[in-house]
C-alpha cells in the first residue's frame, strides 16, 4: 500500500523537481538580479537565516487562522442546523447564503480594520468570514441530501425529529461537511495574511509587506512558501481527522482507484 502511494505521487514530485531545477538554472545562467527573482537555493538560505524572526510571525498567523476557523465551524454548524430544522429559516437564509459567496470577503479587510483596529480581532473576523460560507453551504447541502428512506426508517421506529437529525442527517452530512472544511482550511491562512496586510503588529502578512517594501525578494518568497505549507498542512489535518472519524466515506473511492 505504501509503495503504491509513492508510485502514485512520484510523477508529480518529478515535475515539481524539474521546475525548481529549471528555475535555479535560469536565475544562475541569465544572472537575474536577486531582488528581481532569487533562485530556489537563495530562498532556502534566506529561509534558514530568517527562521528566528519567521517563527513568531508564523505562530501569530496560525493562531489567527485556527481561532477564526473554529469560530466559523461553530457558527456554520448552528446556521446549517437552523436552516435544516426550520422551513422559515431555510427560505430566509438559504438564498442569502448562496449569493453571499459572490461577495469578495477579502475586500472587507480595510473596513474591519476601521471598525476593530489593528489588533487580532479583525484578523480573526476575516478568517471566520472567509471560512464560514464554504462550511455552512456544504453542511446545509449535506443535511438536505440525507437519504429520505433512512430518515423514514428511524421515524418508523418512533424516532423524533431530533433523533432523525442526530442519528441519520448529521452523520450523512459528514462527507459534505469535510469537503467544506477542507476548502475553508485552505482559505484560512491566506485570509489571516490579508487581514495583516491592512495593518498589524505581528504576523506573516506584516513580515511579508516589510520584506517587499525593502526589496528583500528572497524573504518574500520564503514567507509565501510558509503560507503555502501551512495551508496544505491544515488541509491535510482536516483530511486525516476526516479519515479517522468517518472511515466509511473513503471506501468506495479507494476501491475504485485500485
Amino acid at each position: 500500500m505504501n509503495t503504491h502511494r509513492v508510485a502514485r505521487i512520484a510523477p508529480a514530485i518529478a515535475v515539481l523537481a524539474a521546475l525548481v531545477g529549471v528555475w535555479e538554472l535560469v536565475t544562475r545562467l541569465a544572472a537575474v538580479p536577486e531582488w528581481l527573482l532569487p533562485g530556489p537555493s537563495v530562498i532556502v538560505i534566506e529561509f534558514i537565516e530568517s527562521l528566528p524572526q519567521l517563527a513568531p510571525h508564523t505562530a501569530r498567523t496560525l493562531l489567527e487562522a485556527v481561532i477564526g476557523y473554529g469560530a466559523a465551524l461553530l457558527l456554520a454548524f448552528l446556521v446549517a442546523a437552523l436552516i435544516d430544522q426550520s422551513g422559515l429559516a431555510r427560505r430566509a437564509l438559504s438564498p442569502l447564503l448562496v449569493t453571499s459567496q459572490t461577495i469578495p470577503i477579502f475586500a472587507l479587510a480595510p473596513l474591519l480594520a476601521i471598525w476593530f483596529g489593528f489588533g487580532i480581532t479583525p484578523k480573526i473576523l476575516i478568517v471566520a468570514l472567509a471560512c464560514f460560507f464554504p462550511i455552512a453551504v456544504s453542511l446545509a447541502g449535506g443535511l438536505r441530501n440525507a437519504d429520505p428512506d433512512m430518515q423514514a426508517l428511524v421515524r418508523s421506529m418512533g424516532g423524533s425529529r431530533r433523533q432523525v437529525f442526530s442519528k441519520v442527517k448529521l452523520p450523512s452530512a459528514i462527507p459534505a461537511l469535510l469537503s467544506g472544511m477542507k476548502i475553508a482550511a485552505s482559505y484560512s491562512v491566506i485570509a489571516a495574511v490579508i487581514g495583516e496586510w491592512v495593518g498589524a503588529s505581528q504576523g506573516l502578512g506584516l513580515y511579508m509587506l516589510r520584506a517587499s517594501s525593502s526589496f528583500q525578494t528572497a524573504r518574500v518568497f520564503a514567507v509565501i512558501a510558509v503560507i503555502a505549507v501551512l495551508s496544505v498542512a491544515l488541509f491535510l489535518a482536516v483530511d486525516v481527522v476526516g479519515r479517522r472519524i468517518a472511515p466509511w466515506i473513503y471506501v468506495r473511492t479507494e476501491e475504485a482507484q485500485t
Binding site: L153, M157, G158, P247, W248
Partner: protein
C-alpha cells in the same frame, strides 16, 4: 404458526390520494381491507406500482390514509401498537457497525441499550452473522446486509413485521437460501409477518395466506388461503397443489393486466 383470536392488524376501507400538481389528485390505494392474524404469515403480491409500498408506509405510520382505518393490536406487555418495518433497501447506516445497526431500534425507543446489544449478540449466529458484530456494512455481502436488516427489524420486538420485498435485490441462489432461512426464523418468532413481493412462488411457499392486489389504484382482488402443511420443504414447490395455487395467483394477476 397462526394462532386463533382477534387479528393483530386490521385495515378497513383504506384509500390514499396524492395531490398532483395542476391536475386531479392521484389515487394510489382504493378501499383496501385486510387482516393479519396473530403469528400469521401473509404475503401481498401485485403488479409493480400497485401501491404495495404505499400501503406498508401507511401501516408503518410514515403517512396517514386519506380514508379508512388501520388498527394495530397492542403488544402483550401493553406496549403501543406499532409494527416493525423493514424497507426494500437494507438501509444499514454506513457509519455504524452491524451490532449498532441492529440495536438502532432500542436506541431510538429509549430502551435498555446494553440488554439490546446482549440479545443481538446472542442472535448473531442464527442470522449467520457470527463474528461480524463490529463490521461496517460496506464490508458485508448483500445477503448478510439483508439478514442484518432483518435482525434489526426482529429486535424491535413487535407483534407484526412488515417486510417490503426484502429479497428483491438479491441473486436467485442467495434469495432461495434466505427464503428457507426466513421460514426457520419465523417459526421460532412469536410475530406475524406481512410480506410484500411480486414473486408468486416466494409468496406461496412462505405464506399462510396471499392477498393479490390490482393495478393502481391498488385494491385487494383475491384473498387466497395457501393451506400447505408446515414445516415446508423445498419439495413442496414440485407438488400439484402448489402448481394449482400458483396458477390461481397468476390467473388473477394476469387477468388484471390485460
Amino acid at each position: 404458526m397462526p394462532v386463533a383470536g382477534p387479528p393483530v392488524l386490521r385495515l378497513v376501507g383504506v384509500s390514499k390520494f396524492y395531490p398532483a400538481s395542476g391536475g386531479p389528485s392521484v389515487q394510489a390505494l382504493r378501499d383496501v381491507s385486510l387482516e393479519v392474524g396473530r403469528r400469521e404469515f401473509i404475503s401481498l403480491v401485485g403488479p409493480s406500482g400497485c401501491g404495495k409500498s404505499t400501503l406498508l408506509g401507511l401501516i408503518a405510520g410514515l403517512d396517514d390514509p386519506s380514508a379508512g382505518s388501520i388498527e394495530i393490536a397492542a403488544g402483550p406487555d401493553g406496549a403501543s401498537g406499532e409494527v416493525a418495518f423493514m424497507p426494500q433497501r437494507d438501509l444499514l447506516l454506513p457509519w455504524r457497525s452491524l451490532l449498532d445497526n441492529a440495536t438502532l431500534g432500542a436506541e431510538v425507543g429509549g430502551g435498555d441499550r446494553a440488554a439490546a446489544r446482549k440479545r443481538a449478540r446472542l442472535l448473531l449466529p442464527s442470522f449467520g452473522l457470527e463474528g461480524f458484530a463490529d463490521a461496517l456494512p460496506h464490508t458485508l455481502s448483500g445477503g448478510m446486509r439483508q439478514r442484518a436488516a432483518l435482525l434489526r427489524t426482529v429486535l424491535l420486538d413487535r407483534e407484526i413485521l412488515l417486510l417490503d420485498e426484502p429479497f428483491g435485490a438479491l441473486d436467485a441462489l442467495t434469495r432461495a437460501a434466505l427464503q428457507e432461512w426466513l421460514l426457520e426464523i419465523w417459526e421460532r418468532l412469536k410475530a406475524a409477518v406481512l410480506f410484500v413481493t411480486h414473486d408468486v412462488e416466494e409468496a406461496l411457499w412462505l405464506s399462510d395466506r396471499v392477498y393479490v392486489m390490482t393495478r393502481r389504484p391498488g385494491s385487494i382482488q383475491l384473498n387466497l388461503p395457501v393451506g400447505l402443511s408446515r414445516p415446508r420443504t423445498r419439495a413442496v414447490r414440485g407438488t400439484p397443489e402448489f402448481a394449482a395455487l400458483k396458477q390461481r395467483l397468476l390467473d388473477a394477476l394476469l387477468a388484471d393486466t390485460s
